[in-house]
């Protein structure tokens, strides 16, 4: 895959987190917690693993990304802008009238968005459709779907998992962002998920557990998924911290869908800047 060091990927992830905080602060609206928990995986996909072409966003042979937990789109917008899908200045338009950057991603407004999402539980089925089309057309592209652990309470996720198994979609990778929190509380309080890895195994997936903030582990998992052509879809069960990288947001239910004020913004940016490695 792309020749980029783990350290550079880690610094890129930190820069993506800074853009997320900056966007949501300027919009005074958005979902920082889940955007930050998914930042390392999203960075690894867009800057290491995925074959995409910013000049041709609908290139038929591209790898696809489905952000099933669509509310964390600030992290995807940060990655897309940095990869050159649209000018970085447009990140300042998040959630504003007329913007490409809708509150939840729209494929017909924003280049690089492969399917519109926002209503939880629906993205995996769409990803299954894309992966199935790849198999029908004998194309070699990969499909990534990011699912939240709270979102895994939706029944359609499991209907789609059945279908991925039936059609032997080894070109499909589900990244489960296990940050343990959802809007109304912890996942254990609201609706305990049990072991999501065991559930995906029972549905016929190859399952890998990993630390969702360990860049080397993410890169290895992506390499392993890409190398495996065994007819089984892949699930990466990533233990993450909601709000990762900003001390006062980490593991706090209250930072699901709230924008920082000026003081909090400045603290967050200073903390993230300090995480950049020389």
């Amino acid at each position: 895959m792309k020749d980029i060091s783990i350290k550079e990927l880690e610094n890129t992830a930190t820069r993506m987190r800074m853009k997320v905080v900056d966007m949501i602060y300027k919009a005074q609206s958005g979902h920082p917690g889940g955007s930050l928990s998914a930042a390392d995986f999203m960075t690894a996909c867009y800057f290491y693993d995925m074959n995409v072409d910013p000049a041709n966003p609908r290139w038929p042979d591209r790898d696809r990304m489905v952000l099933s937990k669509g509310h964390v789109c600030p992290i995807q917008y940060a990655c897309l802008a940095t990869r050159g899908f649209f000018p970085e200045e447009e990140l300042d338009t998040l959630r504003k009238e007329g913007s490409k950057l809708q509150g939840h991603p729209s494929m017909n407004k924003c280049p690089g968005i492969d399917i519109s999402t926002g209503s939880l539980g629906q993205g995996l089925a769409c990803g299954v459709g894309m992966a199935l089309a790849g198999k029908l057309d004998k194309k070699d592209y990969r499909v990534y779907v990011v699912v939240g652990d709270g979102e895994a309470q939706e029944g359609e996720i499991w209907e789609a998992a059945n279908t991925a198994h039936k059609y032997a979609l080894d070109n499909l990778v589900v990244f489960v962002d296990v940050n343990g929190l959802q809007l109304d509380g912890t996942t254990d309080q609201v609706m305990p998920n049990g072991d999501l890895g065991e559930k995906f195994k029972a549905f016929g997936f190859d399952v890998t557990y990993l630390d969702g903030h360990d860049m080397a582990a993410i890169v290895k998992a992506l390499d392993d998924c890409r190398a495996s052509r065994n007819g089984r879809p892949k699930a990466l069960i990533a233990k993450t911290v909601k709000g990762k990288g900003v001390s006062y947001m980490e593991d706090q239910v209250g930072w699901h869908g709230v924008a920082p004020n000026k003081e909090q913004y400045e603290q967050a940016m200073a903390e993230l800047r300090a995480q950049l490695k020389a």
Binding site: M107, S116, A125, C126
Partner: protein
Amino acid sequence: MSELKKIATREGFGEEIAALGHENPDILVVDVDIGKSCKTGKFRAELPEQYINVGIAEQNGAGVAAGLATCGKIPFVVTYAVFGSLRMAEMIRQEVCYPDLNVKLACSHGGVTPANDGASHQCIEDMGVLRTFPNMTVIMPADYNAAKKLVREAANTYGPMYLRFTRDAVAQVYGPDEQFTIGKAKQLRDGKDVSIIANGDTVILAIEAAETLAAKGISARVLDMHTIKPLDVEAVAACVNDTGRIITVEDHNILNGLGSAVCEVVAEMGKGIVKRVGIQDQFGQSAPYERLLAMNGITVENIVSIAETL
């Protein structure tokens, strides 16, 4: 032509989708385990590479179709009207209509045509629900030949579309060479006193009512409004201007279906009067198809009676 054998419009869908699949390898069927009943058996047997069955999982079926459509496929999601319009409704809204993807929702068992199945399977809300989704086209063919032609038109026209078919056999109205355009009503008979606008399995009732009215000296125009969205506004306006009086007839709730769509146009014109014949906002039961229509006043006699007093 009503002397011809009655045949369910789902049979027309089954024939035509198989023919289309042979012509275009991007045309796929996404079944949810009621393919036999919805007449995809021929497609499945002849085109196994283009046939997908996701099991009893309607929500997932809609999402899979959306994903396929982003990759240039033309998936026909096939189920019953009640499941396609209601169980899948939010997925159709979010993942098909909002992204404006080329997914076709082809549903048998429209209206009370699954008569013996009872209220759970009779669908009186579907066209109303789906016509409120932006980007969606909503179609109900009147008979077997219309079903074949409109399925072909749908396959060859980009965009989200809902096609509604009958479970039970219905009379044949059209010959095999009749041509249809999505969004353009078919005028089956001209008249100057009253217009009867119908669709689907009630078109035959409108024709028979017009024949009865003619014998009584009342001249009735008959329109087959096979597409209720986009509605043929010009044809409705012409009915208002030429006849002043309109009767709508549909195998659907009188709320939010064809009758409502016609009323919206007429009300904004500020002249004309509309009477709606359709399901009287009530659930059905297991009963013969004609009895279910009669319980709701969807009969030739009632249409004639309304025309005489309008």
